[in-house]
Amino acid sequence: MDNRLAELRKSRGWSQEQLADMLGVSRQTVISIEKGRFDPSLPLAFRLSDAFGLTIEDIFRP
């Protein structure tokens, strides 16, 4: 699924590892989501939206 995760993360100055620690998942998971190779679970999608202060639809594009 297309997403703006990399763009949003960089705009906040977060590394992939920092974001992974915040979300409680592996750095490889963040990398895979950013590249559109892995769709997050619903709980993870909600934690992503909380981390960025945006809605899920603002981050992901089907």
Partner: protein, 175 residues
């Protein structure tokens, strides 16, 4: 937007407090901790102790079944020594509280690595089934009847196990 920001701040504060409280209470370590009789104790000694007891029991069972002409005590000891590392590691994995292990992901079940493992398991099962079936066919063609029968039974067993696990998963997932 203001509500989301406020929610984010409260979530971050709550999680930080919860994490601090947990870390103060039990601390994180390389091998983590386990809850035993209401107390939090280091998991490594527990895993080693459980591994020792289990591998001794398994060693004694193995010694009773081994046909080698050797003293029973020696057989049991050797079997226990061989089993101890694996059994201790398994005991540690089963009893440790993952949230107390340094570097462990809080939501490891949501990691992409889990999907990779599942996909690898699916593909490797199918590959094994195909290879065993082909080996049974080739063995039969080459006149190795007993080998062909054994491989055929292995293939049938794999299919039956898949069916059984499917039924368990299907009925286990009912709401």
């Amino acid at each position: 937007m203001a509500k989301l920001e406020d929610r984010k701040r409260r979530l971050a504060t709550a999680e930080s407090n919860q994490s601090e409280t947990l870390e103060k209470k039990v601390g994180k370590s390389s091998f983590g901790r386990v809850r035993l009789a209401g107390r939090s104790v280091p998991a490594l000694p527990v895993g080693l102790a459980a591994g020792l007891v289990i591998s001794l029991v398994l060693g004694m069972i193995a010694a009773s079944l081994m046909p080698q002409p050797m003293a029973w005590g020696l057989k049991a000891f050797l079997a226990a020594v061989a089993l101890f590392p694996t059994v201790s590691a398994l005991a540690w994995v089963l009893c440790v509280d993952r949230s107390t292990v340094e570097g462990a992901d809080q939501y490891a079940e949501e990691n992409v690595e889990n999907r990779w493992v599942r996909q690898a398991a699916q593909v490797s099962y199918l590959v094994c089934l195909i290879l065993v079936s082909l080996a049974a066919l080739v063995s039969d063609v080459l006149g190795e009847g007993q080998l062909a029968l054994a491989l055929f039974l292995v293939a049938v067993g794999m299919v039956l196990i898949f069916g059984l696990v499917y039924v368990v998963v299907r009925f286990g997932s009912r709401g």
